[in-house]
Symmetry: C2
DNA sequence: CGCAATCTACCTACTTAATGGTAGACAATC
DNA sequence: GATTGTCTACCATTAAGTAGGTAGATTGCG
């Protein structure tokens, strides 16, 4: 019975992604996990500690998925499409991106969290830039464009699509945007 | 009809766009405007009332800007670029999109607000769809793609770019993404 | 016109509930 | 026997919202 911490992380992630970081309380989380409010402080002394642990776990899960995609999918557009599909689950479950939820809080966030989420995005950008560069090299991605700029454009489109299509509860529309995005990356 | 109300709307918008809807209080707003907390309730009985007024004012400002763009800019890509530049101010000021900030709150939001922000996005989508359709008709936008799908893709990219580039405080990167976006709309 | 009634915009002071967080007791376990 | 995890009980602070009042406009009307 050691997974209370894991359970806390899971439920807290759902709460943040569903209502924002300022939008849930330790009382909500305690109720979701079936524990007393004070017990949460044993695992995560402050809410910021919880936030940081949340981002770390979320980033680690994404990092693993990114590595899997690189190993399993050979071509540039295919990899970006697989990357985009990682966001799809959020639309289907009605949950936004954890780091987007935190990013919205912006200036109200402690610097530590702000740095963590910036690192989350920076990781994705670096991975995508490498993927796109490789795609340009092997001819599966259209050349001419700066891979770093392309990477930012890809993350932006997917984050924005998740944000909006969650509101409209429209996985189909999300997939439509993903299709437009991936198609635009192919050589002309 | 004093302009205390307008001042309240202005400062509240800054607060929401900077810290999220749940991330500020009437006390914060009162301090920003230089008024007592209770006086806010005279103008906006509840926080949800304030939120709705905020969205209405924000949507109206965008609607006016959209109309101006349609009148002033003749071609499809130019119009989309002008539309994208509306977001740029947010990046420069470190403020996100008001409706994105609310959308993040998702399920915690009263249905009324959720409907209002859905309508905000729906308005933009409808405008863009018309713009893109016209662009396809006059040959300034590449044909073949569904204008409705393209419109969703455009809004998603810009909302996402604002979200991310605000975090990185990088107007240049936002403009890079906008350039990629607009370029992809031109005929090949 | 004069003037009372009403309205507007703000105030101080308060309520109720929730917030994040703490203190310390108690079992179980290593 | 120390550590771990949970509990009850509490704290100070802050949240949104209310009660009731006041000074100054605005209005209705004899």
């Amino acid at each position: 019975m050691r997974d209370t911490r894991a359970e806390l992380l899971m439920q807290a992630e759902t709460l943040v992604r569903g209502r924002g970081f300022a939008g849930f309380s330790y009382a909500d989380l305690a109720a979701a996990v079936g524990i007393r409010k004070a017990s949460i402080h044993h695992h995560f002394p402050t809410k910021v500690d919880l936030g940081a642990a949340l981002v770390a776990a979320y980033a680690a899960r994404y990092a693993a998925a990114l590595e899997t995609i690189r190993l399993d999918v050979p071509d540039g557009p295919g990899r970006v499409e697989a990357y985009g599909r990682l966001y799809l689950g959020g639309v289907e479950q009605g949950l936004g991106c954890l780091c987007a939820a935190l990013a919205i809080e912006g200036e109200a966030l402690p610097g530590r969290l702000r740095r963590d989420i910036a690192a989350f995005f920076a990781d994705h950008l670096a991975w995508l830039e490498a993927i796109l560069r490789a795609g340009q090299a092997d001819g599966t991605v259209r050349g001419g464009a700066d891979p770093a700029a392309l990477a930012r454009y890809v993350v932006a489109t997917l984050e924005g699509a998740l944000l909006m299509e969650r509101l409209f509860a429209s996985p189909a529309a999300f997939q439509g945007t993903l299709a437009v995005l991936v198609d635009g990356l192919r050589p002309r």
